[in-house]
């Protein structure tokens, strides 16, 4: 005899949003740190650092998130012969995944700043870090905000993949409720609607912010 889909089941699914949000937040913050470092390193003169960071981005953008999760969760468990908990494995995998994408977005933003801005700040005898800190990054940041918000939508949606290895978040909570109520026609559209409620406002925000940036990438065109 299966349970019917009632208020407790509904509440259980809605409450699981907190794990989706928490995982997204952890991956976004961790990925932000990694991505920032990668973006800076990819725009330096050092060939080796550029090669390493490019390799990292290629690797994580060229393989499925699911494969990355499997390697971190099942692969590392046997590799280091230890029990791997779902949380650290999933958090680490999504952090590195987010780091690769954010790194690439932010590298593009830094490189969109005209060469002349670097040269002008060098003329003012700012050193490399000062150039970055006071001239380049403040401008690059403005350009990077809309795609960053756009990626956040991508990240929230992709945390659903953690459900496949049994990590309980919104999608997994939906699966569990389908298992006890046998009502996929109710549960999965509900889960989709909840994701939509999380992601759509962010998508609209990203589009709104994009309009605020003019065609010259936020930089005044020289006369």
């Amino acid at each position: 005899m299966s349970r019917s889909f009632g208020l407790p089941e509904f509440v259980y699914i809605v409450a699981a949003i907190r794990w989706t949000l928490l995982l997204s937040l952890v991956a976004f913050v961790g990925g932000g740190l990694v991505g920032f470092a990668v973006a800076i390193l990819r725009t330096t003169q050092s060939r080796i650092l550029r090669l390493l960071t490019t390799g990292y981005i290629q690797l994580f953008q060229g393989t499925p998130v699911l494969m990355q999760l499997f390697v971190f969760y099942y692969g590392f468990a046997v590799l280091f012969d230890m029990q791997v908990d779902a949380w650290p494995a999933v958090a680490l995998a999504f952090t590195l995944y987010a780091g690769a994408f954010l790194g690439e977005i932010w590298r593009g933003s830094i490189q969109a700043i005209p060469r002349t801005q670097w040269e002008a700040s060098a003329c003012l005898s700012l050193d490399y870090l000062q150039q970055l800190r006071f001239v380049i990054l403040p401008q690059a940041m403005r350009i990077s905000i809309p795609p960053t918000v756009g990626f956040l939508v991508q990240l929230i949606k992709n945390t659903s993949i953690a459900a496949i290895i049994g990590f309980v978040e919104l999608t997994r909570a939906g699966q569990l409720m389908v298992n006890v109520t046998f009502q996929p026609m109710v549960v999965y559209p509900l889960v989709a609607a909840l994701y939509f409620a999380l992601c759509w406002p962010l998508s609209l925000l990203s589009r709104f912010l994009e309009k605020g940036i003019d065609a010259n990438l936020g930089v005044k065109r020289p006369l």
């Binding site: 060229g62 998130v65 468990a77 699966q175």
Partner: protein
């Protein structure tokens, strides 16, 4: 770390892995072709159709782009049978991929269509081209050229995302890898190799798409 790698176990099963990779390639390529037809139709409807049709297309695009692919697959595979639409795992995977790529493709194509200047369309009208002829020769072809790189990236993302269809046991590369690692107890080796295969497929598809771009668009010069 004292783990002995046994990649020869993976080599023993290369036939199964190749079969899985082949299904991944077929599913992705087929989903791209059908999805592109869906996207073109929707982009046409969205730019020229009556407001009700535009609204429906916009809703389709927004709903798909703001919900996870995994949940879309679950709806196609588990929820639709309740409405009497039963698909086997491979058909459900293909259907979900087409619907997903169609939505992203619509949005990408629309941005390309918006970039076509109105003078071009007025000129086509002046030459007595019908609306469909204008769309095909004056709008669609140049728009496709503009957005081709974005479409190619989206296609690579689709191919990587297809690993998620292993969750409904469509026997593509990820599902094959899962079953092989669970019978051989060599998760690290198998996932490592499978991730490598995805990387190779991503690079391969990128090269093929680059070739298509060159053949279809670049050789014809500026439009």
């Amino acid at each position: 770390m004292h783990y002995a790698f046994h990649f020869n176990v993976v080599w023993d099963h290369w036939r199964e892995l190749a079969q899985g990779a082949w299904l991944t390639i077929r599913l992705s390529a087929l989903a791209m072709v059908i999805g592109l037809v869906v996207a073109t139709t929707c982009a046409y409807a969205k730019t020229t159709g009556p407001s009700a049709v535009r609204w429906i297309v916009a809703a389709y695009v927004e709903v798909i782009r703001n919900t996870p692919f995994l949940v879309q697959i679950f709806i196609v595979f588990f929820s639709l049978p309740a409405l009497g639409i039963s698909l086997d795992a491979n058909e459900a995977a293909l259907a979900a991929m087409v619907v997903n790529f169609g939505a992203y493709g619509t949005e990408i194509l629309r941005s390309g269509i918006d970039a076509i200047s109105h003078g071009q369309i007025d000129a086509a009208k002046a030459l007595g081209l019908t609306r469909l002829q204008t769309f095909r020769h004056v709008v669609l072809f140049p728009a496709l050229k503009i957005v081709f790189p974005a479409l190619a990236s989206q296609f690579i993302l689709l191919m990587l995302a297809s690993s998620v269809v292993s969750a409904i046991s469509a026997v593509e590369l990820t599902a094959i890898t899962n079953s092989l690692q669970s019978t051989t107890f060599r998760p690290f080796e198998f996932y490592f190799v499978a991730a490598g295969l995805y990387l190779v497929m991503a690079l391969g598809f990128r090269a093929v798409l680059g070739g298509i771009y060159w053949l279809v668009f670049a050789r014809r010069g500026r439009i």
